[in-house]
Symmetry: D2
Subunit: 351 residues, 4 copies
């Protein structure tokens, strides 16, 4: 995958389970594209054990440690894992947006197969070119994900409560992951893995609908990508991984990729991407994040208090400007003005 200055070569390991029921749907799950976000690796280790005991109904491809380069870099004891230490590029903004629109129009399952095989071949061609590493890595992972109906990208986020990014045209299904904070995003493309799957299929679907394609599947049947944010970065918990894996298995069960009957989802909180607000720090100093992540607060409640220095120190509060659910906060108490202090769900809808 990547040769290093020392002469060592880094590889990606994939684990493929052939499904027991032909045509049962295919899932692709990767973790740790951002090197410091490792809980997903523990979840995949868990899934490997589960599928070793009980093979899935559909095909499942598991790719832990998707970015073996990022995970090895260190700055102090921490891992500068969100962006390439050389270029600053966010590893999850380097994916490619394919166009599926101009395939000839056979009936649905054939059309899907055709689009995929065309995509696979385009990826192969592109991978032969002169590419920066970040792009090559992304295209390689996209190649591994070709053919998957469900692409699940396991991330973590700063210090945070678990939450999910779902395409809005199939937000309902996201509840089966058993994570009660759901972000619904439009099917646009900003370079991320989940979008690189959802956006082109949704574009194709809209084109097919416009031309009154005979057997148009419902949008929920389109291949799509989810990003799961499994708590904070730089930490791992095997115990939590069992629960996280259970949620993913529940989702796969609901979609027939895994055998058995899915549990009905509990109520969840839904927020649209445009209502996901970043609060940048107006104060410089040390932030004490007093609000619990994942727990709704009323307008005016204190989210954080910042110890500001100068001739005499003082604590300055940051208050909620509207009812909201704090979802994540800066990884460090030490903060300059204009840094991302918190991110909060606003205009939340219970679903």
């Amino acid at each position: 995958m990547r040769s290093l200055a020392s002469g060592a070569v880094l590889h990606i390991h994939t684990h493929t389970f052939k499904g027991t029921v032909p045509g049962a749907g295919r899932a692709y799950i990767q973790s740790s594209m951002h090197g410091s976000e490792v809980q997903g690796n523990a979840v995949i280790a868990e899934l490997l054990e589960v599928f070793a005991r009980t093979p899935p109904r559909g095909d499942v491809v598991l790719v832990p440690n998707a970015n073996p380069f990022a995970i090895n870099q260190k700055a102090g004891e921490y891992t500068p894992g969100r962006f390439d230490p050389t270029t600053g590029e966010n590893w999850n903004r380097t994916y490619w947006l394919p166009t599926l629109g101009d395939v000839r129009r056979p009936r649905w399952p054939q059309l899907k197969q055709q689009a995929w095989s065309r995509l696979a071949s385009q990826l192969r061609t592109r991978l032969q070119g002169d590419l920066p590493f970040g792009r090559r890595l992304a295209l390689t992972l996209q190649s591994l994900a070709v053919g998957a109906d469900y692409v699940i990208d396991l991330h973590c986020a700063n210090v945070s409560a678990r939450h999910i990014y779902t395409p809005e045209h199939c937000a309902d299904a996201a509840r089966y992951f058993q994570i009660p904070l759901i972000l619904s995003i439009p099917a646009t493309f900003d370079g991320a893995m989940d979008e690189s799957v959802s956006a082109p299929w949704w574009t194709l679907w809209q084109a097919l609908e416009a031309e009154a394609y005979p057997d148009l599947p419902p949008p929920e049947d389109l291949p799509r990508g989810y990003t799961l944010e499994l708590g904070g970065q730089e930490v791992i918990s095997r115990e939590d991984a069992r629960r996280d894996a259970a949620g993913i298995l529940n989702f796969l069960r609901e979609h027939g990729v895994v055998g058995g009957r899915a549990k009905k989802p509990e109520p969840a909180y839904l927020c649209r991407l445009e209502d996901y607000k970043v609060i940048h720090s107006r104060h410089a100093g040390h932030a004490d994040y007093t609000a619990a992540m994942g727990v709704g607060v009323k307008k005016g409640a204190q989210l954080a208090q910042t110890l500001q220095f100068g001739p005499s120190p003082s604590w300055l509060p940051t208050l909620a400007e509207e009812d909201c659910i704090p979802v994540l906060h800066h990884s460090s108490a030490i903060i300059h003005t204009g840094s991302e202090l918190l991110k909060v769900f606003t205009n939340v809808r219970k679903v």
Copy 2:
């Protein structure tokens, strides 16, 4: 400008010279937006001396050290100056693209003034909002540049020969800077300072032309931005700064902002942005960059040789795939595969 965790506050210092000839054109020159690219600071120090002796004909605003935050960060003895050490964001991709198109249409000089005052007010409003630091810095600099006909952004690049980014609709004028390597870019917007000036005015010009605006100025008279890459990063030379300043003064002379007669430009090499090729390293190891930057080579010539490790070390050449002028190379000999090895002008035109 930015308060730091320690309680210290960083400021931007601006130096404004009132022109001696009313209406003589206005220039805005900033340097070191990327903290490690400091030669422009020496150039502005030089211009400050020149203008203290002989005030310019037109107004000139000088902003050295445009990013006092980036310049203070250290990683080893180096300065991680191209991107925000916290977010990875390239400091020169955070500017805002204004829309100048919907102003009512008075005659030209009034239209220009109106567009500028509208822009100034929009910037003020935006600066009151909750912004990440990178964006706030960019908008602050854009505010300082309002009203300038010539926005000159002084950068450096890795290890490199001096070169210029010019909007293609006024590429000819760029030759007066006396830097013989010129990159011509379309008036699109990718977040950079120069583009944030050139693109909206060009868009407005095209709209005016389409509606047969009565006294349409020639495109060369539009406000526009240039980026000058003044050699390598992490180095400064007062002696070179005198030459660099002389080139800028020559440009300003040609446009009437500085008194006297401009020297006719020497021949230069022009390359379109789409022909500016990145060569990513196919080898990992240590690169010996054997080609001189700024000097044209023929197809097949050796650009670099890389010492690759493993059981036995060997030198692997990287050859020019076409006639080209190498312009910059990686700042370090130590390189992994897929890192930017070199950037070269191809399909060069002598002008």
Copy 3:
């Protein structure tokens, strides 16, 4: 204190309270010499409030934010605060070891005053020389601490339970800080602030004893330094700061620097420095630290389990090789072999 490349200047702010009772003993408290270890800053903010309401009996000097340079550096959202980002030098290994031994020998309180004034003058001389910044910072702080009977240096440590470094000749007094994990260190010098106070006075005391100095004070009355490790780095809690401050006030009360009656200390666990063991990671991968910090475990108990990658992932346990109390662990789950995994108290004695 330090001028930065941007032109900004960083300062240290000191807060001095004149005691109400002459001769009541003097305390010096500083915090955050390692920029990422900020809880002590909150504790000093708390003490400032307390002393503003009720002035102390003895003199108290408070220096929050002792290293305004380190606190402003960023690598991702984290703060590379333990060492100088340019030289790699641990900020708490740059102090100077004075010699107090060759003072002429007046009676005790005069001898102490004389030693201090000689030390103050030596520090002034040294500060006039050409010094690296780390050394200049340390000497400046040492100058501020001259005359203090109790030097309290507030630090934090990775992810950790609160614990104390005390000189072994006055370990008993350390229990008044109300932190139940106590590390007893010999009066040697390895460059740290606490040692720079304890070691020379202890050396002097031994010399005086050898020469049968008439009114030798008990070793517990010597000026000495403590390092308090107030939990994990990169976090701050105002609520915890109240408890931390209460412990420090209790210590100062016991020594007459603050009025009132000290609470008797609870039992604590004492470990000698030589029994404070580092466990380096034998496995590479992601560590799930399963033992609670600060809670004793038996030989054979699992301290951590590491998810190791390769063709197939597996969890590898790290077991306690003897009865111990885990005190701190690596700040990140992501770990290469040979990195510090955990530090544990062994051969613990209840006191």
Copy 4:
């Protein structure tokens, strides 16, 4: 050697040439212990070619890329190679000082063999313990160097002229490396590779002399270490490597490890370690290093000029305080006060 979080394993490759003449002396040459100092790697590549054509008279062990971990870490395009990015520890301060003194006293060549085999066994034992990676790496390299009469450690330094560290008891021999700037160091130990060889043998020699050991060899025949600083870090030149290798071969020729007749050395400049002065920057800003490295200057000459910011920029000179030869300067123009600006030889003696 080291397993990484990704699961990859890094190795050290050694290249051993068996000498053609028994008892002809043994050399050990390693390079790039500091990951960013790579010119030595090119030199070893050169030596590998030379010895493949013409085997040496004595045994030669070559270890390029001695620290495969450090070389792979990146911060921007640079390589934080001088210290461990996690601990801040200088990689060349982690070696171990063995004691050779208490061997029984056979005649000289046997004594030497005995000391080495004892050392080898001690190293094996230590390598079985729980060690931090930096220490393990150092001990591993020390193990590879056991038995060598000439240990040559190839480094680079910031931006610098080539220079050599030699133990003072065999400074004369150092001139055969054909590098005219020689630093003579006492046989003490500060953690570096060269010292870990020179110091214990010199200590043993002094003990033997004190006890009137019968066939005491001259000090020049003792095993010893040299550090060669082959120009600036982060750069490599195959052309220069040929010259560097020629110097090393000349030294080996003079000592019989390589066949042929050594060239007599040219005059060189010798400086004692205590006269090797660091000039820390008194100014903050951007330094233009105007003196040429390696070229002597008179007292009062300008070494650098620093562009200092603030309300108005100005250039501030740093002058030589005595006659000296500037040897290296900071790797970046961007500098805060108290950073190492330059290092200069003073009280130079021509030899």
